[in-house]
Every structure is written in structure tokens, then in C-alpha cells.
């Protein structure tokens, strides 16, 4: 498969890299513009009237711009955006903490033990990657109902944490294997227990992998739509940023003075964080992925 496709990539993409530096830059600038146009439209349209959005989508003349629609979206009775931020941030933090607390120790055991059953355990966890969460949530509804956790924050956080386990354990176990076992043996000689050894010796060394997972989990929890929509449901009165956007936007999808300001408010926090931390995010993702 790759044998057919990859050399073509090489001829198309690799040549300009060497022969024409200016061509490469020009190509990347054109691509960047294409990547940024929707974001530009999102930002400027949030400050315009319906008529101006449609007639002059790209223009940015000061007399067209108004903050009135943004203010209206901020105070939308269908969707309290500030509460949405708070609820979603709470979920992001809980899932990240719980995910590391659960996946860390089990990955340590898997990485340090050579018995067959621990390899089977790793396979069991990794197999979870192949289960589409959008489909899994259906039977999970009935599992949560049985446990009395349907429509509750703990129920949602536990399910969302479960979804992070397969990839976390895969990455952490792979990463811990690159950390010399002699370090924990030295700690064991000094009388430290397994838990202590893991949290005080191994865990600090696996920071790159943890950073990678925290970044990925933050994106996936903040942006998740189907799970909060189904597990928390409109009945619970708990809206995340995405389910709130859905409630606020889906009925008015052609009233762009509602759509654009709401979407802008929904993406702003995570986008601002990303832009401020961009170097750490991208290098954090690469660092964890290289070793794992």
C-alpha cells in the first residue's frame, strides 16, 4: 500500500524543499490563508449584521462593526455561556486528574512485569481504542441507569475517563519501558513501596507522556458533544460548551447574528490558551509521541 503511494509524495513534496525555498514558503502561505479564512470569517462576522455578513463577508470597515450581537449571545437565556465554561472546565480537570491517577499505576505494572497476563491486560486495554465512543454511549446509558449515575456529573466523568484509558495506558506503558528499571530497584532497596516508587521516582520522569495525554484529553473532553448530550441530557440542566452551542444554534442556523457570536464565544477560551501555549502544545504532543 505504502509502496505505491509514498514515493509519489516524495516527488511532489520533497523536491521543492531542496530546489526552491521560495516556492515552499509561497505554497505554505497560500495553504495558511486557506486554513485561516474560516476563522477570519468567524471573528469578523461575530461583529456584523446579517445583511453585511452576506453582502460583504470579508470586509472589515469600522462603521459596520458592532458588539451588540456578541453581547446578546453572552446573555442568551437558552445558554449561559459563563456557566458552560465553568462546567466544561470542571469536567476537563476531573477527567485529567482521574485519568492519570488510574492509568499511571496500571501502566507501571504492565511495563515492569513480563508475565503473559500483563501483556494480555495491555491488549485488553488497547482493544478499547477500536470501540467507537459514539456507539458505546448507547449501552452505557443503561449501565449508568443501573448504577444510578445516569444524568449525573460522576457518571459522565467516569465514562469520559474510561474513554481516555486505552490510549493513555498504551502511551504510558511504552514510555515507562524506556525508563531504566534500575532506578526503581534502587528505590526498593531504600525501602520505598511500589506506590511510592511509582509516584515519586517514575512519574516525574514520564512527564512528557503525561503532558501529551493531558493536552489530548483536554481537547477531547472540552470538544466532546455526543457524550454530554446523551449522558447529561437537556433534563439535567447541565450544559457543556458544545451542548450549549447546539441548544443555542441549531434552531437558528441561518440567523448568522446568533450563529457566529455564539461560536466565537464557544471556541475563544481554548483557542486563546492554545495560541498562548502553542509551542508547548505542539512540542508536548511530539515529545510524548516520539518515545511512546
Amino acid at each position: 500500500m505504502s509502496a505505491i503511494r509514498m514515493p509519489r509524495v516524495a516527488t511532489v513534496q520533497f523536491k521543492p524543499l531542496r530546489t526552491k525555498g521560495a516556492g515552499r514558503i509561497a505554497f505554505l502561505i497560500v495553504t495558511s490563508v486557506l486554513m485561516l479564512v474560516p476563522m477570519y470569517l468567524l471573528v469578523v462576522s461575530a461583529f456584523k449584521s446579517q445583511q453585511d455578513i452576506l453582502a460583504h463577508p470579508f470586509s472589515l470597515s469600522p462603521d459596520q462593526l458592532t458588539t451588540q450581537y456578541l453581547e446578546k449571545a453572552w446573555t442568551n437565556p437558552d445558554f449561559n455561556i459563563l456557566k458552560g465554561y465553568a462546567v466544561t472546565a470542571l469536567f476537563v480537570v476531573s477527567v485529567n486528574v482521574l485519568s492519570v491517577a488510574l492509568a499511571g499505576p496500571v501502566s507501571y505494572v504492565i511495563a515492569r512485569r513480563s508475565e503473559r497476563r500483563y501483556r494480555m491486560l495491555l491488549l485488553l486495554f488497547v482493544a478499547g481504542t477500536f470501540i467507537p465512543s459514539q456507539v458505546l454511549v448507547i449501552p452505557v446509558v443503561y449501565t449508568l441507569k443501573f448504577l444510578g449515575l445516569m444524568g449525573t456529573i460522576p457518571g459522565f466523568v467516569l465514562f469520559e475517563t474510561t474513554l481516555t484509558l486505552p490510549f493513555s495506558i498504551f502511551l504510558y506503558a511504552g514510555y515507562i519501558m524506556t525508563i531504566p528499571a534500575s532506578l526503581d530497584e534502587a528505590a526498593a532497596v531504600d525501602g520505598a513501596g511500589k506506590h511510592r516508587t511509582f509516584w515519586s521516582i517514575v512519574f516525574p520522569l514520564m512527564k512528557p507522556a503525561v503532558v501529551t495525554m493531558v493536552i489530548l484529553n483536554t481537547f477531547s473532553v472540552w470538544n466532546d458533544f455526543v457524550n454530554p448530550q446523551i449522558i447529561l441530557g437537556p433534563g439535567s440542566g447541565l450544559y457543556t460548551v458544545t451542548t450549549g452551542v447546539y441548544a443555542a444554534v441549531s434552531q437558528y442556523s441561518t440567523d448568522y447574528t446568533v450563529v457566529f457570536p455564539t461560536l466565537l464565544l464557544a471556541v475563544a477560551p481554548l483557542l486563546v490558551v492554545f495560541v498562548l501555549l502553542q509551542r508547548h502544545v505542539i512540542s508536548g504532543l511530539t515529545a510524548g509521541a516520539t518515545k511512546g
Partner: protein, 289 residues
């Protein structure tokens, strides 16, 4: 004994949660797929394989299956090719490259739901592009209102939003390419293309596999974007398997039938992912041998 308890305390919590929230629900799906349950009646009646038989006769489900496979196949190829291509282009350590990397990656920070609403406002019949065309007296383009255009738009938006992740994964892989080998290839006078084919690409083999499998698994469960970009339309032409499964299970109260589709989707996902991984590992051995 104490050592055993310690191990258990490290493995137990994660394993229990995984079993309760993932293994049990998957088994429940398999069981429900063999019943006619509607979601609220007291006792599901076991009907054997009837749901699976119905599935083979359901035009809607078969079409959703094909739509999903087209999205997964076309999308995976585009994501991998663009991912590797752009990773090579922005691999250098310059500030400009760092900026390009951020621009290519940023859509991943937006939720698929928001991306879909945003692009439907841009591409819709009364959207920004068509509004702009109309005021200039041009014809409206059916980005989301013609079945073929809509599917193409959906794949295009998926790729726009997702290939930055592949770029980052390939960039990670490029860092593992041996500097010594690249250096000696240069000294031996190898061309850029020869170096790429004989040094870079073999070193990237595991990353290529990870990219293909991740893209495939992600695309096979496409759902959020369908909700916000096309709503499955026009006339069901962009309904994916996940979309139809949730629709059948919760709106049509056909939980048994929905579960049968779920089981098929899970098997297809695992089967395709493992097949790709196996083909890739055979190809790697072919390269080495």
C-alpha cells in the same frame, strides 16, 4: 501476599472502571442486538439474528455503511498524504515553520460540532459564500444541497479540521530519523529523493502505521460534524453509520436494530484497523528483508 495486594491496588481501579464502562456495555450491545428491545419495555424478547437479517435488507443502513467507508477510505488517504507532505515542508527549526505548524494544527482545537456549524454558515445555500456570489449575480453553488457535493464537502471539512494532527505525528516521527544516516547519505552524494526513500521513509514506517490506523478509526465514527454540517442530508446522503445508529436507537426506539448496527461497526472498525496494521508490518518486514 502483600506484594500481590499492592499490584492489585495498582491494576484494580483502572481495570474495574474499564470493565464496567466499556467491556460490560459492549457485551450489552451484543445481547441487545439479538433482541427486539425498544428502550423502555420491561422484557426484551430475544429474536435471534433477525436484526442482522433486517440490516442486510435495509437500504438506509447499507447506504450509511457505504458513506462511512467512503469517508474513511478517502479521508485516511488524504490525511496521511497531506500529513506527511506538510510535515516534510514545516520540519525545519525556523520561527516561520513554527508558525506554519500552529496554523495547520489549530482547527483541531475547535470542536467538530463548532467546525460543522461554522462551515455550514460558510457553505450553506444562504451562507456566506453563496450570499457573496448572489450579490454579484452569480449562480449559487450546492456545497451542501447536492448529495455528491455534500459528501465531498463533508470529507473536505474533515480533512481541513484533522490533518494538522497527522502533521504533528509525522513531525514526531521525523525526529526519530537517524541524523548520522542522513549525514552519511548526504556525504555519499545521495539525491533528496534517494535519501527520502531509503533513509527517511523506512524510519517513518511505524509512524505511518499509527497514522493510518488512527485516521481510520477516527473517521469510521464520524458523527458530530454530520450533525452540525449537513444534518445527514440532503435526503440522507451524508448519514454515517454512527449517525444512523444513534438515530435508530434513540429517535426510532429501535434499540435492538441500532445495537446490531453498532456491533457490525465495531467489528468492521477492529477488522480494518488490524488488517491495516498487519499489512503494514508485513510491508515493513519486506523492506528490511
Amino acid at each position: 501476599m502483600r506484594a500481590r495486594l499492592t499490584t492489585l491496588s495498582m491494576v484494580g481501579p483502572a481495570l474495574v472502571l474499564f470493565v464496567v464502562m466499556l467491556v460490560v456495555p459492549v457485551c450489552l450491545s451484543v445481547y441487545l442486538s439479538l433482541t427486539d428491545w425498544n428502550g423502555y419495555s420491561a422484557n426484551p424478547v430475544v429474536v435471534g439474528l433477525r436484526n442482522y437479517l433486517d440490516l442486510t435488507k435495509s437500504e438506509e443502513a447499507i447506504r450509511a455503511g457505504w458513506v462511512t467507508l467512503v469517508i474513511a477510505a478517502v479521508g485516511t488517504v488524504l490525511l496521511s498524504v497531506l500529513g506527511l507532505g506538510f510535515a516534510l515542508l514545516v520540519n525545519g527549526a525556523s520561527r516561520l515553520n513554527a508558525l506554519f505548524r500552529v496554523i495547520l494544527f489549530y482547527p483541531h482545537v475547535l470542536s467538530a460540532l463548532v467546525v460543522g456549524f461554522l462551515w455550514s454558515a460558510v457553505l450553506g445555500t444562504s451562507g456566506v459564500v453563496n450570499g457573496w456570489l448572489t450579490t454579484r449575480g452569480a449562480e449559487v453553488l450546492p456545497f451542501l444541497s447536492n448529495p455528491h457535493w455534500a459528501l465531498a464537502s463533508l470529507i473536505g471539512v474533515l480533512v481541513w479540521a484533522g490533518f494538522g494532527v497527522n502533521v504533528v505525528l509525522y513531525l514526531a516521527g521525523l525526529q526519530t530519523v537517524s541524523k548520522d544516516l542522513l549525514e552519511s547519505a548526504r556525504i555519499d552524494g545521495a539525491s533528496a529523493r534517494q535519501t527520502f526513500r531509503n533513509v527517511t521513509l523506512p524510519a517513518l514506517a511505524p509512524v505511518v502505521t499509527v497514522n493510518l490506523v488512527l485516521s481510520l478509526v477516527t473517521l469510521l465514527k464520524t458523527y458530530d460534524l454530520v450533525v452540525s454540517l449537513t444534518g445527514g442530508g440532503p435526503a440522507g446522503s451524508t448519514q454515517t453509520a454512527a449517525y444512523l445508529i444513534l438515530w435508530d436507537s434513540f429517535h426510532n426506539n429501535a434499540l435492538g436494530f441500532g445495537s446490531a448496527q453498532s456491533v457490525v461497526l465495531m467489528i468492521v472498525t477492529a477488522g480494518l484497523a488490524l488488517t491495516v496494521a498487519r499489512l503494514r508490518s508485513r510491508a515493513d518486514q519486506g523492506v528490511k528483508g
